[in-house]
Protein backbone atom coordinates (compact mmCIF):
# COMPACT_ATOMS: atom_id res chain seq x y z
CA UNK A 1 0.00 0.00 0.00
CA UNK A 2 1.47 3.29 -1.14
CA UNK A 3 0.26 6.72 -0.14
CA UNK A 4 -0.08 9.87 -2.24
CA UNK A 5 -0.84 13.49 -1.52
CA UNK A 6 -3.85 14.71 -3.56
CA UNK A 7 -3.80 18.40 -4.50
CA UNK A 8 -5.73 20.80 -6.73
CA UNK A 9 -4.36 22.48 -9.86
CA UNK A 10 -7.20 24.77 -10.89
CA UNK A 11 -10.11 22.39 -11.44
CA UNK A 12 -7.87 19.32 -11.89
CA UNK A 13 -6.93 16.96 -9.06
CA UNK A 14 -3.37 15.65 -9.17
CA UNK A 15 -1.53 13.30 -6.90
CA UNK A 16 2.13 12.75 -5.89
CA UNK A 17 3.57 9.84 -3.92
CA UNK A 18 4.52 10.94 -0.42
CA UNK A 19 7.95 9.31 -0.85
CA UNK A 20 8.88 12.16 -3.20
CA UNK A 21 7.74 14.84 -0.71
CA UNK A 22 10.12 16.37 1.87
CA UNK A 23 7.50 18.67 3.41
CA UNK A 24 4.37 20.72 2.67
CA UNK A 25 4.23 24.36 3.81
CA UNK A 26 2.18 27.53 3.48
CA UNK A 27 3.51 30.06 1.01
CA UNK A 28 6.37 32.02 2.62
CA UNK A 29 7.46 35.31 1.07
CA UNK A 30 8.93 34.70 -2.45
CA UNK A 31 12.22 36.18 -3.51
CA UNK A 32 12.35 37.52 -7.02
CA UNK A 33 14.55 35.61 -9.50
CA UNK A 34 15.83 37.88 -12.31
CA UNK A 35 15.15 36.76 -15.94
CA UNK A 36 13.17 33.75 -14.74
CA UNK A 37 10.30 32.43 -16.92
CA UNK A 38 6.67 33.25 -15.87
CA UNK A 39 6.12 29.76 -14.41
CA UNK A 40 8.83 30.35 -11.79
CA UNK A 41 7.17 32.33 -9.00
CA UNK A 42 10.45 33.07 -7.22
CA UNK A 43 12.61 31.45 -4.56
CA UNK A 44 12.01 30.64 -0.90
CA UNK A 45 14.20 30.13 2.12
CA UNK A 46 13.51 26.55 3.22
CA UNK A 47 15.34 25.76 6.47
CA UNK A 48 18.40 27.70 5.25
CA UNK A 49 18.51 26.38 1.66
CA UNK A 50 17.33 28.42 -1.38
CA UNK A 51 14.69 26.62 -3.44
CA UNK A 52 13.03 27.85 -6.68
CA UNK A 53 9.19 27.60 -6.70
CA UNK A 54 7.47 26.30 -9.87
CA UNK A 55 3.85 27.31 -10.51
CA UNK A 56 2.71 23.87 -11.60
CA UNK A 57 -0.70 24.97 -12.91
CA UNK A 58 0.89 27.64 -15.14
CA UNK A 59 3.62 25.27 -16.26
CA UNK A 60 1.10 22.54 -17.20
CA UNK A 61 -1.23 25.04 -18.85
CA UNK A 62 -4.13 25.10 -16.36
CA UNK A 63 -4.31 28.86 -16.11
CA UNK A 64 -2.28 31.07 -13.85
CA UNK A 65 -2.45 33.50 -10.93
CA UNK A 66 -3.02 31.27 -7.85
CA UNK A 67 -4.09 33.12 -4.73
CA UNK A 68 -2.55 31.91 -1.43
CA UNK A 69 -0.76 28.87 -2.91
CA UNK A 70 0.44 25.83 -0.97
CA UNK A 71 4.00 24.66 -1.47
CA UNK A 72 5.21 21.07 -1.88
CA UNK A 73 8.96 20.74 -1.21
CA UNK A 74 10.46 17.74 -3.06
CA UNK A 75 13.03 15.45 -1.44
CA UNK A 76 16.73 16.16 -1.98
CA UNK A 77 17.01 12.84 -3.85
CA UNK A 78 14.61 14.03 -6.54
CA UNK A 79 15.48 17.71 -6.99
CA UNK A 80 16.17 21.00 -5.19
CA UNK A 81 12.67 22.29 -6.16
CA UNK A 82 9.35 23.40 -4.62
CA UNK A 83 5.96 23.14 -6.40
CA UNK A 84 3.16 25.70 -5.90
CA UNK A 85 -0.36 24.24 -6.04
CA UNK A 86 -3.86 25.57 -5.36
CA UNK A 87 -4.83 23.48 -2.35
CA UNK A 88 -4.21 20.13 -0.68
CA UNK A 89 -6.97 17.45 -0.79
CA UNK A 90 -5.43 15.02 1.67
CA UNK A 91 -3.48 11.74 1.87
CA UNK A 92 -4.88 8.84 -0.22
CA UNK A 93 -3.75 5.21 0.14
CA UNK A 94 -3.72 3.09 -3.03
CA UNK A 95 -2.51 -0.22 -4.42
CA UNK A 96 -0.24 -0.15 -7.48
CA UNK A 97 -2.59 -2.49 -9.36
CA UNK A 98 -5.47 0.02 -8.98
CA UNK A 99 -3.58 2.49 -11.19
CA UNK A 100 -5.10 2.90 -14.64
CA UNK A 101 -3.03 3.78 -17.68
CA UNK A 102 -3.72 7.13 -19.18
CA UNK A 103 -3.97 8.33 -22.76
CA UNK A 104 -0.52 8.66 -24.33
CA UNK A 105 -0.85 12.25 -25.69
CA UNK A 106 -2.52 13.52 -22.52
CA UNK A 107 0.23 11.83 -20.43
CA UNK A 108 2.96 13.60 -22.38
CA UNK A 109 1.50 17.07 -22.38
CA UNK A 110 0.15 17.11 -18.77
CA UNK A 111 2.88 14.98 -17.15
CA UNK A 112 0.42 12.24 -16.02
CA UNK A 113 1.92 8.86 -15.25
CA UNK A 114 -1.34 7.08 -14.40
CA UNK A 115 -4.94 7.71 -13.27
CA UNK A 116 -6.47 6.60 -9.96
CA UNK A 117 -10.23 6.42 -9.36
CA UNK A 118 -10.85 7.41 -5.78
CA UNK A 119 -14.23 8.23 -4.07
CA UNK A 120 -15.89 9.00 -7.44
CA UNK A 121 -13.04 11.30 -8.44
CA UNK A 122 -10.17 10.85 -10.89
CA UNK A 123 -6.69 11.64 -9.49
CA UNK A 124 -3.94 12.21 -12.06
CA UNK A 125 -0.68 10.78 -10.73
CA UNK A 126 2.06 13.32 -11.48
CA UNK A 127 4.90 11.97 -13.67
CA UNK A 128 7.74 13.58 -11.70
CA UNK A 129 10.55 12.28 -13.97
CA UNK A 130 8.88 13.74 -17.09
CA UNK A 131 8.24 17.05 -15.23
CA UNK A 132 11.89 17.31 -14.13
CA UNK A 133 12.98 16.31 -17.65
CA UNK A 134 10.90 19.07 -19.25
CA UNK A 135 12.26 21.49 -16.66
CA UNK A 136 15.76 20.74 -17.99
CA UNK A 137 14.64 22.38 -21.27
CA UNK A 138 13.34 25.49 -19.54
Amino acid sequence: MDQLLAFQLGSETYGLEVTHIQEVIEAPPFYYIPRAPASLLGSINFHGSILPVLDLATFLGFGEGINDPRIIVLTHDDAQLALAVSAFAGIVSFATEDLLPCHEDQGHSACIRAVLACRGEMINLLDLDRLLGSLENL
Binding site: V24, E26, F88
Partner: protein
Protein backbone atom coordinates in the same frame (compact mmCIF):
# COMPACT_ATOMS: atom_id res chain seq x y z
CA UNK B 1 -109.21 168.24 -82.91
CA UNK B 2 -111.93 167.07 -80.63
CA UNK B 3 -115.44 168.39 -81.31
CA UNK B 4 -118.47 167.45 -79.21
CA UNK B 5 -121.53 166.16 -81.01
CA UNK B 6 -123.62 169.08 -79.75
CA UNK B 7 -121.11 171.51 -81.25
CA UNK B 8 -121.20 169.56 -84.46
CA UNK B 9 -125.04 169.95 -84.57
CA UNK B 10 -124.74 173.67 -83.79
CA UNK B 11 -122.14 174.07 -86.56
CA UNK B 12 -124.48 172.22 -88.90
CA UNK B 13 -127.37 174.50 -88.00
CA UNK B 14 -125.17 177.56 -88.46
CA UNK B 15 -123.97 176.25 -91.83
CA UNK B 16 -127.60 175.59 -92.95
CA UNK B 17 -128.73 179.08 -91.80
CA UNK B 18 -125.66 180.63 -93.32
CA UNK B 19 -126.29 178.80 -96.60
CA UNK B 20 -129.91 180.06 -96.58
CA UNK B 21 -128.76 183.64 -95.97
CA UNK B 22 -126.04 183.29 -98.53
CA UNK B 23 -128.41 181.83 -101.05
CA UNK B 24 -130.81 184.63 -100.46
CA UNK B 25 -128.00 187.02 -101.31
CA UNK B 26 -126.64 184.99 -104.21
CA UNK B 27 -129.90 184.00 -105.89
CA UNK B 28 -130.84 187.49 -107.32
CA UNK B 29 -127.54 187.45 -109.17
CA UNK B 30 -128.29 184.10 -110.85
CA UNK B 31 -130.87 185.26 -113.27
CA UNK B 32 -133.61 183.29 -111.84
CA UNK B 33 -137.06 184.75 -112.13
CA UNK B 34 -138.15 186.46 -109.01
CA UNK B 35 -141.06 184.33 -108.34
CA UNK B 36 -138.72 181.35 -108.40
CA UNK B 37 -136.04 182.85 -106.37
CA UNK B 38 -137.65 182.14 -103.04
CA UNK B 39 -138.42 178.64 -103.99
CA UNK B 40 -134.96 178.07 -105.29
CA UNK B 41 -133.38 179.39 -102.12
CA UNK B 42 -135.58 177.17 -99.99
CA UNK B 43 -134.79 174.22 -102.21
CA UNK B 44 -131.08 174.86 -101.96
CA UNK B 45 -131.32 175.31 -98.19
CA UNK B 46 -133.19 172.01 -97.82
CA UNK B 47 -130.57 170.38 -100.03
CA UNK B 48 -127.72 171.73 -97.92
CA UNK B 49 -129.57 170.60 -94.76
CA UNK B 50 -130.11 167.13 -96.23
CA UNK B 51 -126.46 166.84 -97.24
CA UNK B 52 -125.19 167.89 -93.82
CA UNK B 53 -127.80 165.83 -92.01
CA UNK B 54 -127.01 162.70 -94.04
CA UNK B 55 -123.27 163.16 -93.58
CA UNK B 56 -123.52 163.71 -89.84
CA UNK B 57 -126.02 160.95 -89.14
CA UNK B 58 -124.09 158.56 -91.39
CA UNK B 59 -120.90 159.00 -89.35
CA UNK B 60 -122.71 158.99 -86.05
CA UNK B 61 -124.84 155.89 -86.67
CA UNK B 62 -121.92 153.98 -88.11
CA UNK B 63 -119.90 154.61 -84.94
CA UNK B 64 -122.89 153.71 -82.76
CA UNK B 65 -123.36 150.47 -84.73
CA UNK B 66 -119.73 149.52 -84.27
CA UNK B 67 -120.05 150.19 -80.53
CA UNK B 68 -123.30 148.30 -80.40
CA UNK B 69 -121.68 145.28 -82.10
CA UNK B 70 -118.80 145.36 -79.71
CA UNK B 71 -121.10 145.41 -76.71
CA UNK B 72 -123.03 142.54 -78.28
CA UNK B 73 -119.79 140.51 -78.52
CA UNK B 74 -118.91 141.44 -74.95
CA UNK B 75 -122.28 140.24 -73.77
CA UNK B 76 -121.44 136.87 -75.46
CA UNK B 77 -118.12 136.80 -73.57
CA UNK B 78 -115.96 137.49 -76.62
CA UNK B 79 -113.03 139.54 -75.40
CA UNK B 80 -110.84 138.64 -78.34
CA UNK B 81 -110.79 141.96 -80.25
CA UNK B 82 -110.69 145.67 -79.37
CA UNK B 83 -113.15 148.30 -80.67
CA UNK B 84 -111.80 150.15 -83.70
CA UNK B 85 -113.71 153.18 -85.05
CA UNK B 86 -112.95 154.64 -88.52
CA UNK B 87 -110.41 157.40 -88.29
CA UNK B 88 -111.74 160.93 -88.21
CA UNK B 89 -110.42 164.48 -87.96
CA UNK B 90 -112.97 165.38 -85.38
CA UNK B 91 -113.33 162.67 -82.77
CA UNK B 92 -116.27 162.88 -80.48
CA UNK B 93 -117.96 161.04 -77.54
CA UNK B 94 -118.26 157.81 -79.56
CA UNK B 95 -114.48 157.69 -79.73
CA UNK B 96 -114.35 158.22 -75.93
CA UNK B 97 -116.94 155.52 -75.50
CA UNK B 98 -114.89 153.20 -77.72
CA UNK B 99 -111.77 153.89 -75.69
CA UNK B 100 -113.69 153.25 -72.46
CA UNK B 101 -115.03 150.03 -73.89
CA UNK B 102 -111.55 149.02 -74.87
CA UNK B 103 -110.38 149.67 -71.33
CA UNK B 104 -113.31 147.63 -69.99
CA UNK B 105 -112.42 144.80 -72.38
CA UNK B 106 -108.79 145.01 -71.30
CA UNK B 107 -109.75 144.94 -67.61
CA UNK B 108 -112.16 142.06 -68.19
CA UNK B 109 -109.51 140.19 -70.13
CA UNK B 110 -107.00 140.62 -67.30
CA UNK B 111 -109.65 139.70 -64.76
CA UNK B 112 -110.69 136.58 -66.66
CA UNK B 113 -107.12 135.46 -67.21
CA UNK B 114 -106.32 136.12 -63.56
CA UNK B 115 -109.44 134.22 -62.49
CA UNK B 116 -108.57 131.42 -64.89
CA UNK B 117 -104.98 131.06 -63.69
CA UNK B 118 -106.03 131.47 -60.07
CA UNK B 119 -108.76 128.86 -60.40
CA UNK B 120 -106.22 126.51 -62.03
CA UNK B 121 -103.86 127.13 -59.16
CA UNK B 122 -106.71 126.68 -56.72
CA UNK B 123 -107.62 123.41 -58.41
CA UNK B 124 -104.00 122.26 -58.20
CA UNK B 125 -103.70 123.39 -54.62
CA UNK B 126 -107.00 121.72 -53.76
CA UNK B 127 -105.79 118.50 -55.32
CA UNK B 128 -102.47 118.82 -53.45
CA UNK B 129 -104.41 119.61 -50.31
CA UNK B 130 -106.61 116.60 -50.89
CA UNK B 131 -103.57 114.35 -51.42
CA UNK B 132 -101.82 115.83 -48.39
CA UNK B 133 -104.90 115.40 -46.23
CA UNK B 134 -105.21 111.82 -47.46
CA UNK B 135 -101.57 111.22 -46.56
CA UNK B 136 -102.14 112.87 -43.22
CA UNK B 137 -105.16 110.66 -42.70
CA UNK B 138 -103.05 107.62 -43.47
CA UNK B 139 -100.30 108.92 -41.18
CA UNK B 140 -102.76 109.57 -38.40
CA UNK B 141 -104.12 106.04 -38.91
CA UNK B 142 -100.58 104.76 -38.52
CA UNK B 143 -100.13 107.00 -35.50
CA UNK B 144 -103.31 105.55 -34.08
CA UNK B 145 -102.00 102.02 -34.64
CA UNK B 146 -98.65 102.91 -33.12
CA UNK B 147 -100.35 104.47 -30.15
CA UNK B 148 -102.41 101.34 -29.77
CA UNK B 149 -99.19 99.31 -29.77
CA UNK B 150 -97.71 101.75 -27.26
CA UNK B 151 -100.80 101.27 -25.15
CA UNK B 152 -100.38 97.49 -25.33
CA UNK B 153 -96.67 97.93 -24.56
CA UNK B 154 -97.56 100.05 -21.57
CA UNK B 155 -99.88 97.30 -20.34
CA UNK B 156 -97.09 94.75 -20.82
CA UNK B 157 -94.73 97.11 -19.04
CA UNK B 158 -97.14 97.33 -16.14
CA UNK B 159 -97.28 93.53 -15.96
CA UNK B 160 -93.49 93.25 -16.20
CA UNK B 161 -93.08 95.83 -13.49
CA UNK B 162 -95.42 93.86 -11.26
CA UNK B 163 -93.44 90.71 -12.03
CA UNK B 164 -90.16 92.53 -11.31
CA UNK B 165 -91.55 93.71 -8.01
CA UNK B 166 -92.50 90.16 -7.10
CA UNK B 167 -89.08 88.83 -8.19
CA UNK B 168 -87.26 91.47 -6.19
CA UNK B 169 -89.32 90.59 -3.12
CA UNK B 170 -88.34 86.94 -3.63
CA UNK B 171 -84.73 88.04 -4.13
CA UNK B 172 -84.88 89.97 -0.87
CA UNK B 173 -86.07 86.80 0.85
CA UNK B 174 -83.25 84.81 -0.76
CA UNK B 175 -80.76 87.41 0.38
CA UNK B 176 -82.05 87.06 3.93
CA UNK B 177 -81.55 83.31 3.63
CA UNK B 178 -78.00 83.99 2.35
CA UNK B 179 -77.34 86.26 5.29
CA UNK B 180 -78.49 83.53 7.69
CA UNK B 181 -76.29 80.97 5.87
CA UNK B 182 -73.34 83.36 6.01
CA UNK B 183 -73.80 83.71 9.76
CA UNK B 184 -73.84 79.94 10.08
CA UNK B 185 -70.70 79.74 7.91
CA UNK B 186 -69.03 82.27 10.18
CA UNK B 187 -69.85 80.17 13.26
CA UNK B 188 -68.65 77.01 11.48
CA UNK B 189 -65.44 78.77 10.44
CA UNK B 190 -64.66 79.78 14.03
CA UNK B 191 -65.38 76.18 15.13
CA UNK B 192 -63.05 74.97 12.39
CA UNK B 193 -60.38 77.40 13.53
CA UNK B 194 -60.62 76.10 17.14
CA UNK B 195 -60.52 72.48 15.97
CA UNK B 196 -57.55 73.22 13.74
CA UNK B 197 -55.79 74.88 16.64
CA UNK B 198 -56.32 71.74 18.74
CA UNK B 199 -55.10 69.67 15.76
CA UNK B 200 -51.99 71.86 15.48
CA UNK B 201 -51.21 71.36 19.18
CA UNK B 202 -51.71 67.62 18.82
CA UNK B 203 -49.39 67.55 15.82
CA UNK B 204 -46.76 69.46 17.82
CA UNK B 205 -47.07 66.90 20.64
CA UNK B 206 -46.78 64.14 18.03
CA UNK B 207 -43.61 65.72 16.71
CA UNK B 208 -42.11 65.81 20.22
CA UNK B 209 -42.97 62.13 20.79
CA UNK B 210 -41.59 61.22 17.39
CA UNK B 211 -38.37 63.00 18.28
CA UNK B 212 -38.10 60.83 21.40
CA UNK B 213 -38.75 57.72 19.31
CA UNK B 214 -36.15 58.86 16.82
CA UNK B 215 -33.56 59.36 19.51
CA UNK B 216 -34.28 55.86 20.85
CA UNK B 217 -34.00 54.43 17.36
CA UNK B 218 -30.72 56.23 16.84
CA UNK B 219 -29.28 54.91 20.13
CA UNK B 220 -30.49 51.43 19.10
CA UNK B 221 -28.65 51.90 15.82
CA UNK B 222 -25.49 52.86 17.67
CA UNK B 223 -25.86 49.79 19.90
CA UNK B 224 -26.30 47.66 16.80
CA UNK B 225 -23.13 49.16 15.31
CA UNK B 226 -21.24 48.36 18.57
CA UNK B 227 -22.65 44.84 18.41
CA UNK B 228 -21.43 44.55 14.79
CA UNK B 229 -17.92 45.62 15.92
CA UNK B 230 -17.95 42.97 18.64
CA UNK B 231 -19.05 40.36 16.14
CA UNK B 232 -16.22 41.44 13.83
CA UNK B 233 -13.79 40.91 16.71
CA UNK B 234 -15.21 37.40 17.08
CA UNK B 235 -14.64 37.00 13.34
CA UNK B 236 -10.98 37.97 13.75
CA UNK B 237 -10.58 35.42 16.52
CA UNK B 238 -12.24 32.83 14.32
CA UNK B 239 -9.83 33.77 11.54
CA UNK B 240 -6.97 33.11 13.90
CA UNK B 241 -8.54 29.76 14.83
CA UNK B 242 -9.02 28.98 11.10
CA UNK B 243 -5.37 29.81 10.48
CA UNK B 244 -4.31 27.58 13.38
CA UNK B 245 -6.51 24.77 12.03
CA UNK B 246 -4.94 25.16 8.54
CA UNK B 247 -1.46 25.10 10.01
CA UNK B 248 -2.38 22.10 12.16
CA UNK B 249 -3.71 20.40 9.05
CA UNK B 250 -0.44 21.11 7.25
CA UNK B 251 1.50 19.81 10.22
CA UNK B 252 -0.66 16.68 10.20
CA UNK B 253 -0.02 16.30 6.49
CA UNK B 254 3.73 16.62 7.08
CA UNK B 255 3.49 14.17 9.98
CA UNK B 256 1.65 11.73 7.71
CA UNK B 257 4.35 12.19 5.06
CA UNK B 258 7.11 11.64 7.66
CA UNK B 259 5.28 8.59 8.95
CA UNK B 260 4.92 7.22 5.40
CA UNK B 261 8.65 7.74 4.89
CA UNK B 262 9.39 5.96 8.16
CA UNK B 263 7.55 2.95 6.70
CA UNK B 264 6.39 0.27 9.12
CA UNK B 265 7.78 2.16 12.15
CA UNK B 266 5.76 5.25 11.43
CA UNK B 267 2.40 3.51 11.28
CA UNK B 268 1.26 4.46 14.78
CA UNK B 269 2.52 7.97 14.22
CA UNK B 270 0.50 8.11 11.01
CA UNK B 271 -2.69 7.16 12.94
CA UNK B 272 -2.01 9.97 15.44
CA UNK B 273 -1.31 12.36 12.58
CA UNK B 274 -4.56 11.33 10.91
CA UNK B 275 -6.44 11.97 14.17
CA UNK B 276 -4.78 15.40 14.45
CA UNK B 277 -5.68 16.14 10.84
CA UNK B 278 -9.31 15.18 11.52
CA UNK B 279 -9.36 17.42 14.59
CA UNK B 280 -7.89 20.26 12.56
CA UNK B 281 -10.46 19.61 9.84
CA UNK B 282 -13.35 19.64 12.32
CA UNK B 283 -11.87 22.75 13.97
CA UNK B 284 -11.66 24.36 10.52
CA UNK B 285 -15.23 23.27 9.72
CA UNK B 286 -16.47 24.66 13.06
CA UNK B 287 -14.55 27.86 12.46
CA UNK B 288 -16.12 28.00 8.98
CA UNK B 289 -19.56 27.52 10.54
CA UNK B 290 -18.78 30.28 13.04
CA UNK B 291 -17.62 32.48 10.17
CA UNK B 292 -20.85 31.71 8.31
CA UNK B 293 -22.80 32.48 11.47
CA UNK B 294 -20.85 35.71 11.85
CA UNK B 295 -21.58 36.52 8.19
CA UNK B 296 -25.24 35.82 8.77
CA UNK B 297 -25.22 37.91 11.94
CA UNK B 298 -23.38 40.68 10.15
CA UNK B 299 -25.79 40.68 7.22
CA UNK B 300 -28.71 40.54 9.64
CA UNK B 301 -27.17 43.40 11.62
CA UNK B 302 -26.67 45.29 8.36
CA UNK B 303 -30.29 44.60 7.48
CA UNK B 304 -31.34 45.79 10.94
CA UNK B 305 -29.17 48.90 10.53
CA UNK B 306 -30.59 49.43 7.06
CA UNK B 307 -34.13 49.03 8.30
CA UNK B 308 -33.27 51.35 11.21
CA UNK B 309 -31.94 53.87 8.71
CA UNK B 310 -35.11 53.46 6.77
CA UNK B 311 -37.07 53.81 10.00
CA UNK B 312 -35.11 56.95 10.79
CA UNK B 313 -35.77 58.21 7.30
CA UNK B 314 -39.40 57.17 7.66
CA UNK B 315 -39.51 58.94 10.99
CA UNK B 316 -37.92 61.97 9.35
CA UNK B 317 -40.55 61.79 6.65
CA UNK B 318 -43.18 61.29 9.36
CA UNK B 319 -41.83 64.29 11.24
CA UNK B 320 -41.93 66.27 8.02
CA UNK B 321 -45.46 65.02 7.39
CA UNK B 322 -46.45 65.97 10.93
CA UNK B 323 -44.76 69.34 10.43
CA UNK B 324 -46.70 69.71 7.22
CA UNK B 325 -49.82 68.68 9.08
CA UNK B 326 -49.10 71.38 11.65
CA UNK B 327 -48.57 73.90 8.88
CA UNK B 328 -51.72 72.66 7.17
CA UNK B 329 -53.58 73.16 10.45
CA UNK B 330 -52.19 76.69 10.67
CA UNK B 331 -53.25 77.31 7.08
CA UNK B 332 -56.67 75.87 7.93
CA UNK B 333 -56.86 78.24 10.91
CA UNK B 334 -55.94 81.19 8.69
CA UNK B 335 -58.41 80.11 6.02
CA UNK B 336 -61.13 79.54 8.61
CA UNK B 337 -60.52 82.99 10.09
CA UNK B 338 -60.58 84.46 6.59
CA UNK B 339 -63.77 82.54 5.87
CA UNK B 340 -65.29 83.86 9.06
CA UNK B 341 -64.39 87.45 8.11
CA UNK B 342 -65.71 86.95 4.60
CA UNK B 343 -68.90 85.33 5.85
CA UNK B 344 -69.45 88.28 8.19
CA UNK B 345 -68.85 90.60 5.25
CA UNK B 346 -71.33 88.60 3.18
CA UNK B 347 -73.90 88.85 5.98
CA UNK B 348 -73.43 92.63 6.15
CA UNK B 349 -73.61 92.95 2.38
CA UNK B 350 -76.73 90.79 2.35
CA UNK B 351 -78.27 93.12 4.93
CA UNK B 352 -77.44 96.10 2.71
CA UNK B 353 -78.83 94.22 -0.28
CA UNK B 354 -82.05 93.58 1.59
CA UNK B 355 -82.38 97.30 2.27
CA UNK B 356 -81.53 98.03 -1.38
CA UNK B 357 -84.14 95.50 -2.47
CA UNK B 358 -86.87 97.17 -0.43
CA UNK B 359 -85.81 100.54 -1.93
CA UNK B 360 -86.02 98.89 -5.33
CA UNK B 361 -89.51 97.62 -4.52
CA UNK B 362 -90.57 101.19 -3.69
CA UNK B 363 -88.95 102.49 -6.88
CA UNK B 364 -90.63 99.81 -8.96
CA UNK B 365 -94.01 100.64 -7.46
CA UNK B 366 -93.33 104.24 -8.50
CA UNK B 367 -92.46 102.95 -11.98
CA UNK B 368 -95.72 100.98 -12.01
CA UNK B 369 -97.69 104.14 -11.17
CA UNK B 370 -95.87 106.04 -13.92
CA UNK B 371 -96.59 103.20 -16.34
CA UNK B 372 -100.30 103.31 -15.48
CA UNK B 373 -100.30 107.08 -16.00
CA UNK B 374 -98.56 106.50 -19.30
CA UNK B 375 -101.21 103.98 -20.30
CA UNK B 376 -103.99 106.49 -19.47
CA UNK B 377 -102.18 109.27 -21.35
CA UNK B 378 -101.75 106.97 -24.30
CA UNK B 379 -105.46 106.29 -24.37
CA UNK B 380 -106.11 110.02 -24.33
CA UNK B 381 -103.62 110.48 -27.15
CA UNK B 382 -105.39 107.70 -29.00
CA UNK B 383 -108.75 109.43 -28.66
CA UNK B 384 -107.19 112.74 -29.78
CA UNK B 385 -105.66 110.99 -32.74
CA UNK B 386 -109.03 109.55 -33.70
CA UNK B 387 -110.54 113.03 -33.53
CA UNK B 388 -107.66 114.32 -35.58
CA UNK B 389 -108.24 111.56 -38.12
CA UNK B 390 -111.90 112.49 -38.37
CA UNK B 391 -110.94 116.17 -38.84
CA UNK B 392 -108.46 115.13 -41.49
CA UNK B 393 -111.12 113.20 -43.31
CA UNK B 394 -113.43 116.24 -43.14
CA UNK B 395 -110.58 118.39 -44.43
CA UNK B 396 -110.04 115.96 -47.27
CA UNK B 397 -113.75 116.23 -48.12
CA UNK B 398 -113.54 120.01 -48.02
CA UNK B 399 -110.48 119.91 -50.25
CA UNK B 400 -112.46 117.75 -52.68
CA UNK B 401 -115.32 120.22 -52.67
CA UNK B 402 -112.85 123.07 -53.17
CA UNK B 403 -111.32 121.24 -56.09
CA UNK B 404 -114.77 120.76 -57.64
CA UNK B 405 -115.53 124.45 -57.11
CA UNK B 406 -112.27 125.39 -58.80
CA UNK B 407 -113.16 123.10 -61.69
CA UNK B 408 -116.60 124.70 -62.15
CA UNK B 409 -115.06 128.18 -61.88
CA UNK B 410 -112.62 127.19 -64.59
CA UNK B 411 -115.58 125.95 -66.70
CA UNK B 412 -117.30 129.32 -66.26
CA UNK B 413 -114.17 131.24 -67.11
CA UNK B 414 -113.69 129.14 -70.21
CA UNK B 415 -116.84 130.80 -71.68
CA UNK B 416 -114.76 133.96 -72.14
CA UNK B 417 -112.78 134.09 -75.33
CA UNK B 418 -109.59 136.05 -75.10
CA UNK B 419 -107.17 137.16 -77.79
CA UNK B 420 -106.10 134.27 -80.01
CA UNK B 421 -109.52 132.61 -79.49
CA UNK B 422 -108.33 130.79 -76.42
CA UNK B 423 -109.84 130.93 -72.99
CA UNK B 424 -106.72 131.64 -70.98
Amino acid sequence: MRVDISYKFIVGFIVVVASIVLLNLVVPYLGIPEQWQQLFAVACAILVGLVFGWFFSKRFTSNIRVLNGTVERLSRGDLSSAVELPATFFPDETVDLAASLNRVVESLRELVSTISSSSLKVADSAQGLSATSQQMTASSHEIAKTIEQISKGAETQAEMVEKSSRLIKEMAMSIEVIAASANKVSVSASDTAETAQAGGEMSRATIAKMKQVLEKVESNGEQMAAFGTQVQKIGKIVDVITGIAGKTNLLALNATIEAARAGEYGRGFAVVAEEIRKLADSTGASAGEITELIETIRSEAQKVQQSMKESVQGIDAGREAVDNTGKAFEAIIKTALGTKAKATGIAELAQKQTEGASDMVVAIEEIARVAEDNAASTQEVSAATEQQTASMEEMAGAAQVLSELAESLLEVVKQFRLAGGKAE
